[in-house]
């Protein structure tokens, strides 16, 4: 399976159920799309992430009812620095989609999706712990892997692999 160039044109990808639902709801929330290696990525405006997740979860045609994974990528030193990544799965239709929201390094905060999927609880705590991204509206945003008194966020790119010594 040789690699094919990614598709980034919204028009060509409109048939994917997740993108179709979002365009039907409010086309302005979709910032960019990419279809690469059989996976669809949609960049979402960061202030509507909770609504977008709720819309996709409750979509009638293809409900993306399962949050597989929630993580973050640090693009230090470029800005916007953080990308929060959501992997959704539709259990009835076996479709997958990846949502991304870009955050600035200076104000790394995004709305929590724990009200949409309770399973986001641990994932968001992990991202907060290891990247320092804040999730507003999270019921219990505290460190999960590192001790409470730990300084810094280990998975940030400006954090040395050996730690601070």
């Amino acid at each position: 399976m040789p690699l094919v160039p990614p598709i980034t044109d919204i028009e060509e990808l409109k048939s994917h159920p997740a993108l179709a639902r979002l365009l039907e709801w409010n086309a302005s929330v979709v910032q960019a799309v990419k279809f690469d290696r059989d996976e669809l990525t949609i960049w979402i405006a960061k202030d509507v992430i909770r609504e977008v997740c709720a819309i996709l979860r409750d979509s009638a045609d293809c409900p993306f009812n399962y949050l597989c994974d929630l993580t973050c990528v640090d693009w230090y030193p470029s800005e916007p620095r953080f990308e929060v990544v959501y992997h959704l799965l539709s259990i009835p239709h076996k479709e997958r989609v990846r949502l991304k929201a870009r955050l600035d390094g200076s104000s790394a905060a995004i709305e929590s999706v724990t009200s949409v999927w309770p399973s986001a609880n641990f994932y968001e705590r992990e991202v907060f712990d290891l990247f320092g991204v804040r999730f507003t509206g999270h019921p219990n945003l505290e460190r999960i892997m590192m001790p409470d008194d730990w300084e810094g966020h280990p998975l940030r790119k400006d954090y040395p692999v050996e730690g601070y010594r």
């Binding site: 399976m1 996976e39 399973s119 641990f122 001790p147 409470d148």
Partner: protein, 405 residues
């Protein structure tokens, strides 16, 4: 990972009956928590009012370490995540990188991957069954299960030289050709194993004590299971029909026939039945893999990515150059990102890898199935009894290495 509460009396609350609740720490040093899991239980008498899992005691920063390694050097790290199914982790990682590279894997390597992956599932389920039954007071099952597990570990040792940290799957194929006599030995085991499963079931399935400890205990509805992100037998035990081997086949699973056991009760017993049934399905798949094992190479034809054979490396100049290049500089992977999910014994094991076009991954994230399953524990246990927490932990089959990473 939070500090322990200052005093027990400080953390209790008034109950409606006028008593005070008690906060009790279960773990991190408790045999039934299967590792270093700490549960903070708030109890009213014998009843659980609140349950809060505390994790992070085993956090080793594998995701950070991956970013400092070449792609091929990450494979041994993946063994250490979920230490009961190392090959499943190897497979998920290798498939993800192969997807990034657009690499074609020869059929024999694919079938060997299925064979070893199903043996890993059997290994993992046997440890689960033995320890789960022992938690509930059935000591003998543990000894039976570990007898068969020893056989499976010997197969791992035969192919890779290691019993647990195998690193047998490599990017582009397998590390080594399976040794002479390997398939005959696996065949003998596969013929015998269904009888062994009958033995375990004879000890447990109809056992009134076991049924009393498991039936109707720690119930989880399908809606809750989905909302809380449960996976694998925990999800299937609640009546959700999903199995990535069937729904999104990878590494040649589309060539295999198997049933996906689903139970609707959503209790500990349903999850037990799902897993035991999976043991039978797995051994069926091992039989199919043995019967249809194709001939041919075990590594992809991609000299810039796959290490050359030892013999070629010693006799051919070109192979030596490639060997030197891969070991010292790694290989570059085209920029992009993939999320590769596979069905591990515990649920969806996903690897999210971001490449920036260099020889080291920019970001590796492991979606561990135990991490998601652990979140269901509070829902299962609240309102139940302390003794049932032990049954519930066993039934979601958590591996702390997979949770803390």
């Amino acid at each position: 990972m939070t500090q322990f509460p200052a005093t027990v009396a400080e953390s209790g609350r008034e109950t409606p009956s006028g008593d005070r609740t008690l906060v009790l720490n279960m773990g991190p040093q408790h045999p039934s928590t299967h590792g270093v899991l700490r549960l903070v239980l708030e109890i009213d008498g014998e009843t659980i009012v609140r349950l809060k899992p505390e994790i992070g005691f085993l956090h080793t920063g594998i995701e950070k370490t991956c970013e400092a390694k070449f792609y091929q050097q990450v494979v041994p790290l993946t063994d250490r995540i979920d230490y009961l199914c190392p090959l499943t982790n190897n497979l998920a990682y290798c498939l993800a990188v192969e997807k990034l590279l657009g690499l074609e894997i020869p059929p024999k390597a694919q079938w060997m991957r299925v064979l070893m992956n199903e043996l890993t599932r059997i290994n993992s389920h046997l440890v689960w069954l033995g320890t789960h039954a022992m938690d509930l007071g059935a000591m003998t099952v543990f000894l039976y299960c570990f007898r068969e597990r020893e056989d499976v570990l010997r197969f791992f040792e035969m192919v890779s030289g290691q019993r647990m940290m195998t690193s047998y799957f490599r990017i582009g194929g397998l590390a080594l050709e399976p040794p002479l006599g390997f398939f005959e030995k696996v065949k003998k085991f596969a013929d015998r194993f269904p009888g062994n499963v009958d033995e375990y079931e004879g000890l447990l399935t109809g056992n009134p004590i076991f049924m009393m400890r498991t039936k109707g205990i720690a119930r989880l509805s399908a809606e809750d299971a989905i909302a809380l992100g449960a996976g694998g037998p925990t999800l299937r035990g609640s009546g959700v029909d999903i199995d990535l081997r069937r729904d999104a086949p990878y590494t040649g699973y589309e060539n295999f026939k198997f049933k996906v056991p689903v139970r609707t009760e959503g209790d500990v017993f349903a999850r037990y039945l799902c897993r035991v049934e999976e043991l039978r399905e797995s051994i069926g798949m091992v039989q199919q893999a043995l019967a249809g094992m194709p001939e041919g190479p075990i590594k992809a034809d991609s000299p810039k990515v796959v290490l050359p054979d030892r013999e070629k490396m010693k006799t051919q100049m070109e192979a030596l150059i490639y060997h030197f290049k891969i070991i010292t500089e790694g290989f570059t992977v085209p920029a992009g990102e993939v999320y590769q999910a596979i069905e591990s014994p515990r649920g969806e094991m996903g690897y999210y890898i971001v490449s920036d076009g260099t020889a080291k991954p920019y970001r590796v994230h492991m979606r561990g199935p135990s991490y998601a399953n652990l979140q269901t524990l509070a829902k299962m246990c609240e309102g139940g009894l302390i003794a049932d927490v032990v049954a519930a932990i066993g039934s979601i089959d958590v591996i702390l290495g997979d949770i803390d990473r």
